[in-house]
């Protein structure tokens, strides 16, 4: 198979902090160094893009020495936790920004869909916007004309074609926008999380269209998503990024496994420095983490897997009955449920000064897929006192690969709901 994309030694540096102030002098300094034939003084330190640790410099490598090839007609998923460099990679591939070093070579026309409806103008009609958006995405007018009916049909907005899009419902808007992009005639299609929009029905249609594009028409697709299920169904290969490095490029299910197994250490663990421990003079939090049964801290868990939340704290003065408590939220900020140490367990009401650790077991097949955010508190119930409360302490992602008998069984579509408990279904003959 011929290669469609070849990425060599690709790196991208970002500057943190304020860019507006003091850059003129810095620019001059850089310029001077370059004029004198020296290395750029601000690129010397190779800093890993670890977002949880505060860095000493304000230069960060968002991507570092990335190398990979994509074969023609292949569908490749790009996964990694937030801030791993996925979006940066897509931006470079779609030529929105340029790399700091390295190169990307591309065969054929490339169309990128980093956002649905880019360049839609609210005052223009659906018809005018289809032409405008198509042209922005790189289509010629004649091409759009030829596909116009097909686009309208896919979006299902024939009736409103001459209405300004500002009168469209958000669903219609998104459908029309995706329809334009889906009918691009490019050899390579780059898609970023656009499937997160629209209703379930339409999401299915989008996924269907995308697999048709890659499998049926033999076009190359690069797909970034947090939805492992979609990645597994759509992509034959996947790339795993971690802190700007490429940590794996293999077939999708191996990469998803690798992603699940690895300790990304970005959000699933929270330690506080000695002098910044949250709390009061009664109790202070030391550390909170989410780990699997063998104690490995993980950024992503399979939906069927038990999650263990470990809370460590130190009691400074005696006399209070202390109850640790957890709040569970999803990515939309919905409070899924709360849980606190309720007295059923033996070590209720530790009061003596010293360090303590609680491990809370959340059974598998309870969370729905997506991000879970955990808040931690330590309270006294009677009289009610909050000693410490950190609303967003740690976060991790639940992933539904459809393996190990999850709640979804063999159903492959989208499952709504904020929880996904495995219920007991029993039947009998009547």
């Amino acid at each position: 198979m011929a290669k469609a994309i070849k990425v060599e030694n690709l790196s991208k540096v970002y500057q943190l902090g304020e860019i507006g102030t003091g850059t003129l002098s810095r620019d001059l300094e850089r310029y001077w160094a370059r004029m004198m034939g020296k290395e750029d003084p601000f690129l010397k330190i190779g800093e890993v893009n670890e977002q949880s640790t505060k860095s000493k410099t304000d230069i960060v490598w968002s991507l570092k020495d990335i190398n990979f090839d994509v074969e023609q007609g292949d569908a490749v998923g790009i996964i990694g936790s937030n801030g791993a460099g996925k979006s940066t990679l897509l931006k470079i591939l779609s030529r929105v920004t340029s790399p700091t070093t390295g190169s990307v070579k591309i065969k054929g026309r490339i169309a990128s869909l980093l956002e649905v409806g880019t360049g839609f103008h609210p005052e223009l009609s659906g018809r005018e916007n289809v032409y405008l958006n198509g042209a922005i995405l790189g289509m010629r007018k004649a091409e759009i004309k030829r596909k116009f009916d097909e686009i309208l049909d896919f979006a299902g907005v024939e009736r409103y074609v001459d209405t300004p899009v500002k009168r469209y419902s958000s669903g219609m808007y998104v459908r029309l926008a995706f329809a334009v992009a889906a009918h691009l005639e490019s050899e390579i299609l780059i898609v970023d999380e656009v499937l997160a929009v629209g209703d379930a029905e339409f999401q299915k249609k989008c996924l269907g269209k995308m697999s048709e594009v890659s499998k049926g028409e033999g076009r190359t697709v690069l797909f970034v998503s947090h939805n492992m299920d979609a990645v597994m169904r759509l992509c034959s290969h996947a790339i795993l990024l971690k802190n700007g490095y490429l940590t794996g490029f293999d077939n999708t299910s191996n990469i998803v496994d690798l992603y699940l197994r690895s300790d990304f250490g970005t959000t699933a663990r929270k330690d506080w420095p000695e002098n910044e421990l949250p709390g009061n003079d009664v109790v202070k939090l030391l550390a909170v983490k989410a780990n699997d049964i063998s104690g490995n801290v993980k950024d992503a868990f399979d939906i069927t897997e038990d999650v263990y939340i470990t809370v460590k704290y130190t009691i400074l003065s005696a006399g209070y009955k202390l109850n640790p408590a957890l709040n569970f939220f999803n990515a939309n900020g919905i409070n899924l449920f709360d849980s606190h140490q309720s007295g059923h367990t033996v070590s209720n009401g530790q009061t003596a000064p010293g360090q303590y650790e609680w491990v809370i077991n959340v059974p598998g097949n309870l969370f729905a897929e997506g991000t879970i955010i955990i808040g931690v508190a330590i309270v006294t119930h009677d009289p009610f006192l909050i000693h410490v409360h950190i609303p967003e302490t740690i976060a991790f992602t639940m992933i539904d690969k459809g393996e190990n008998n999850p709640t979804r069984g063999d159903y492959r579509g989208s499952m709504p709901g904020v929880l996904r408990p495995l219920l007991k279904w029993e039947s009998r003959n009547l």
């Binding site: 030529r95 340029s98 790399p99 700091t100 070579k105 005018e128 922005i136 300004p164």
Partner: protein, 288 residues
């Protein structure tokens, strides 16, 4: 299959390196439909939100002319080369407006289109080009107004003499477009990092207008303030407007040399503009 890298052909290569003189003309030609659609969008969206629609194109120069006639013509009594005052001002305003509109709109290309540029690639030059073209429509409408007023004075027997220099009109128009485009691109490239410039631009254009022969003729400066004549001579818009007036109305002070220098300066500014613009275009998404 035999696939060594050396014999492979790649359509696009994305690197950090950038050839300063690669103007991507081929790319722009590929996207010519987008250029026209942008022009259409600008025009349609302009009148869709208004009651009077394209009539607004008339109102602005008309009222400006009336005010200039009153303030500069009557109160300050600045001579107008012996031309009817409204005609003199309208000629200057029409030409100046085109240049100024091209300049102001182009100078905010990056900041206004940051959202679009951050999501999809197309040759960025398309946007400034579309601005110059859509302003051309507006300019056309305003020229129509100019012709109507000219006609009205003609009927009354006012003294002005259109002549063969009229043939220079397309060249003058092109020079104005290029100058506005070039200066606008330089400023737009710099505003992505140094926002101060965007404050400068609005009143900078105002100031520049007074250094151009919009409300007074060059001949007055030549006879009254010969010491400051160079200030105007260095301003490329001066000889463009003087030549414009000379062609249509038969009065104006310019030489082939001054026009030649203007043309050379203008083209130089355009080249610098394109180079700076293309350089910034590659990474501005990270700084805007």
């Amino acid at each position: 299959m035999h696939n060594t890298d050396k014999e492979e052909y790649w359509d696009t290569e994305i690197t950090a390196k950038h050839n300063l003189f690669d103007f991507q003309l081929k790319d722009i030609w590929q996207y010519r439909d987008l250029l026209m659609l942008f022009v259409r969008r600008d025009f349609v969206s302009f009148y869709k939100q208004t009651i009077l629609g394209p009539i607004w194109f008339f109102i602005q120069p008309l009222f400006t002319t009336i005010i200039y006639t009153f303030v500069f013509g009557n109160l300050a009594a600045i001579p107008t080369d012996g031309l009817p005052q409204p005609l003199f001002y309208l000629a200057g305003i029409t030409a100046w407006n085109y240049f100024a509109d091209c300049l102001t709109k182009t100078s905010t290309v990056f900041t206004v289109n940051a959202g679009l540029f951050g999501k999809v690639y197309f040759p960025r030059l398309i946007v400034p080009l579309s601005i110059v073209l859509s302003n051309l429509i507006r300019f056309g409408v305003q020229m129509l107004l100019f012709f109507i007023i000219m006609g009205a004075y003609w009927v009354q027997g006012a003294s002005f003499h259109p002549n063969a220099w009229l043939l220079l009109f397309p060249v003058l128009l092109l020079l104005m477009a290029i100058l506005g485009l070039g200066m606008g691109m330089i400023i737009s490239a710099m505003t992505t990092k140094y926002r101060d410039l965007s404050f400068l631009i609005t009143f900078g254009i105002q100031l520049m207008m007074y250094l151009t022969t919009v409300i007074y003729p060059l001949s007055v400066v030549k006879s009254k303030y010969p010491k400051y004549e160079w200030l105007l001579e260095y301003n490329p818009m001066t000889s463009i407007i003087e030549a414009f007036r000379y062609g249509f109305l038969g009065r104006g002070t310019f030489t082939a040399l001054s026009l030649g220098i203007t043309a050379a300066t203008t083209i130089l500014i355009l080249l610098i503009g394109i180079i700076v613009f293309n350089k910034v275009e590659k990474t501005f998404v990270d700084t805007v």
